[in-house]
């Protein structure tokens, strides 16, 4: 019995002795290389207190190679012997140790710093990486809550450091010379290399991008930054001969703050070089009637809500009439008034006097319904107002900000959204106009998505070669059912920005999971023992709990199975004036395409037999009338 006890005691003593020996050895090594130890301790402490990731220390160490190079060159110039050069650091260390022993700390530091700082940064980074990995795995800390507390504290420190980086004016410009769009300072990168600033390549904008965030989380800031960044990068490319940018931003919610947002967008875009920024419908208008006749007929048909069942017959009649009106010989209608005037049997009969048998038969069949159809479209166009009946074209401006009153007048906003997206699609595919690099951005598109599903929008955008960016306030706002929501979010190959939202799980799931180590420790009574197990588990790449707790202006960028948490910088263009532009060169517009071997019918040679609508009584007011009043008035005295 005593023998066994003695053996246990001896084994314990041996184990403890080995531990003490190992500890003393480590202390001795650290003491011998005291300059490196001091630098490592300082860098470790800085990373801990300032929330830096180990990568930041590694980057600093890598960036200090010129210091080592300068040291080596200076040593080589002084010694001219490789052996002496190789021993120079040892001599410096010996000298510094003596100086330290005599209390001359600054002299000792000055002698050793050039070598100790890079090596210390490297060692500090390695120690910090080990510490964070151990805490993440639950293998370190004094109590069971230590990893969670450590993580929360480091998050807060990293966020504070990110906000601090944004205070510098040059840290996060709107665009870089490398053709990327900086978004903000990185707080944490999961599954991808850490960089101080998150930069999204311009090519990501040519794809589909989704932004989800509750109201007041900084979604508008983020969108304006992305728009402006895309514009700046694309404009820089345009100066090298690529297509000019054309931004179309749809504010689908509308309301009083939409005007403020529009004004802010305009100011930021101006700073990036955009000159003509049109705010629709407040300041300018578009012409719906520039669409190709067939597309125009389809659009007008879709803009009216049609019932089901027996109403389908009337829908078919209405569609047939619209096709006849829009594709009449002589060209499509040029305005709402012209369109309405064509919904008349007499006009159609004249227009199709030389028509084919089926056309005349369709006309006779539709005759009883023409009055109803005209009434419905007169009502619709009256509600839409003059904003879609103007002389403007999309290509006239560098950027358009469309304000749709989706909250106040959903049905009108839906019809407007349909018309605008159709015009944008036409502009993207038209070969008659200057080719433009286009980005269609829809803010709160869910407000009008009942009749134009979001999936349609981006699928069309992708097929037309224009970038589409959509935003919603929640997962539910992305579509009417989970299938559609998943289709929209899962195909966002340009990336997914998730800001604070109460239900981020489906979006987090798109980032996937990652392998983590999970440690369990054996409890001895109420305290941890020194035994336990570690196993590989899967954890969220984009932690939904973290997303739920994001602060205003913080976002999680999910892209290709990685997640980057970022503090978004406020969009602020450079205060420096833009350089003078070079003289404009000729814009080469390809000739109109021939379809199926013959020219388009709306550009045909037929005589323009379409009667123009009557000029409104009184006519447009001229500038003179503003001063002199009506024609009967005199000069105001």
């Amino acid at each position: 019995m005593m023998g066994v006890l003695r053996l246990i005691v001896v084994l314990w003593l041996l184990r403890m002795g080995l531990r003490v020996l190992r500890f003393l050895l480590a202390v001795a090594v650290l003491a011998v290389v005291w300059p490196v130890t001091a630098a490592a301790v300082l860098s470790f402490t800085a990373a801990w207190l300032l929330g830096w990731p180990p990568a930041r220390l590694y980057r600093a160490a890598a960036a200090s190679w010129p210091v080592l190079a300068a040291y080596a060159v200076a040593a080589a110039l002084a010694a001219r012997s490789w052996r002496v050069v190789a021993l120079t650091p040892v001599d410096a260390w010996q000298q510094a140790t003596l100086l330290l022993a005599h209390g001359r700390v600054l002299h000792a530091v000055a002698l050793t710093a050039p070598l100790a700082v890079p090596l210390g940064l490297l060692a500090g980074g390695a120690a910090w990486a080990h510490r964070t990995a151990a805490m993440e795995a639950g293998a370190a800390g004094r109590h069971a809550f230590a990893p969670a507390v450590f993580d929360a504290r480091q998050w807060a420190r990293s966020a504070r450091a990110a906000r601090g980086r944004l205070a510098a004016p040059g840290t996060v410009p709107l665009a870089t010379g490398r053709g990327t769009v900086p978004v903000g300072a990185v707080i944490r990168a999961v599954g991808r290399r850490w960089t101080p600033v998150l930069e999204v390549p311009a090519s990501a904008f040519a794809r589909h991008m989704v932004i989800v965030g509750a109201s007041g989380t900084g979604k508008t800031n983020l969108m304006i930054r992305l728009w402006a960044g895309w514009y700046a990068v694309t404009l820089a490319a345009a100066r090298r001969g690529r297509p000019r940018p054309l931004l179309a931003a749809l504010d689908c919610k509308g309301g009083a703050d939409a005007r403020a947002k529009a004004d802010r967008t305009r100011r930021v875009l101006r700073g990036t070089g955009a000159r003509r920024i049109a705010i629709w419908p407040d300041e300018t208008s578009l012409s719906l009637w520039t669409l190709p006749p067939r597309d125009l007929a389809v659009l007008l048909h879709q803009m009216i809500e049609h019932g089901e069942g027996a109403a389908a017959y009337y829908a078919d009649v209405s569609q047939a009439v619209l096709v006849m009106v829009c594709c009449a010989p002589g060209g499509p209608p040029g305005s709402a008034a012209a369109f309405l005037s064509r919904l008349d049997y007499g006009w159609l009969d004249d227009a199709y006097a030389a028509g084919t048998g089926p056309e005349l038969a369709a006309l006779r069949a539709a005759r009883p319904h023409l009055g109803d159809i005209q009434l419905r479209y007169a009502t619709l166009l009256g509600r839409l107002g003059p904003a879609l009946d103007g002389p403007g074209r999309l290509g006239d401006a560098d950027a358009w900000y469309f304000i749709l009153e989706g909250t106040a007048e959903p049905s009108v906003a839906e019809a407007q959204a349909m018309a605008i997206t159709e015009l944008i699609a036409h502009a993207a595919t038209s070969r008659d106009t200057e080719p433009r690099a286009m980005l269609l951005a829809a803010d709160d598109y869910s407000a009008v998505s009942r009749r134009v599903p979001l999936s349609n929008l981006y699928e069309r955008g992708r097929s037309l070669g224009l970038g589409v960016m959509v935003s919603a306030q929640s997962w539910q706002g992305l579509g009417t059912d989970d299938d559609e929501r998943t289709r929209i979010a899962a195909t966002a190959d340009g990336g997914l920005f998730v800001m604070q939202t109460p239900y981020p799980e489906p979006l987090s799931a798109l980032a996937g999971t990652r392998r983590v180590l999970e440690s369990a420790r054996k409890l001895l009574g109420a305290t941890w023992g020194d035994e336990g197990t570690t196993r590989i588990q899967r954890a969220w790449t984009a932690d939904p709990d973290l997303i739920r707790q994001l602060d205003t202006g913080q976002a999680c960028y999910i892209h290709r199975g990685t997640a980057v948490f970022v503090q978004v910088a406020r969009p602020k263009p450079s205060p420096l004036p833009l350089p003078p532009a070079r003289p404009a060169g000729p814009v080469i517009i390809p000739p109109p395409a021939r379809r199926n071997g013959h020219a388009r019918r709306d550009l045909g040679d037929g005589p323009p037999t379409v009667p123009l609508p009557p000029v409104p009584a009184g006519g447009p007011a001229g500038p003179l009338d503003d001063v002199l009043g009506p024609a009967t008035g005199g000069i105001p005295q």
Binding site: A70, A92, P573, R582, G585, L624
Partner: protein, 156 residues
């Protein structure tokens, strides 16, 4: 021609339709050719053209943009690639303005810290390879951190 000046208005983005109209009416009443004194046809024509341009918010916005950044950004002109030295020269020319519009005091403070640290290193470790290495380190630190204190280049 500056249409704001033609109407005697300040080039502000928050001008209202009424303000523009009032300015136009005042000038037109003074200069109209139908006045008994014959008016001032040239001034009237200039004011008319200016009013035509500024009567809508869109027009004012355009005029303001023209004032800010004349001439306009052109459509793409396939320009010959600029030589590398031209880019460097352009960046150097912009540097004073970028410093002025950035954080010049922070930049100066960093420069002072780097200079003092480098000078101290030379004093303390003079004659050893550590001195030039320390000076290199100080300069490197200043260069690496100075960029954040500069305003971004124009258009970014």
């Amino acid at each position: 021609m500056n249409p704001f000046a033609a109407l005697g208005l300040p080039p502000r983005p928050d001008l209202t339709d009424d303000e523009v109209r009032a300015a136009w009416r005042a000038i037109a009443a003074r200069t109209h050719p139908d006045r008994r004194d014959g008016g001032d046809p040239a001034a009237y024509v200039a004011a008319s053209a200016a009013y035509e341009q500024l009567r809508t918010p869109w027009g004012r916005s355009e005029a303001l943009a023209d004032l800010d950044w004349l001439p306009a950004i052109p459509p793409p002109a396939a320009a010959p690639p600029a030589p590398a030295w031209a880019g460097a020269w352009h960046a150097a020319v912009l540097l004073p303005a970028r410093i002025r519009h950035g954080r010049p005091l922070c930049l100066a403070a960093r420069a002072a810290v780097a200079a003092i640290a480098g000078y101290a290193a030379v004093l303390l470790a003079g004659g050893t390879p550590s001195a030039p290495a320390a000076v290199t380190g100080c300069a490197l630190w200043w260069l690496a951190t100075a960029r954040a204190d500069l305003a971004p280049p124009p258009g970014r």
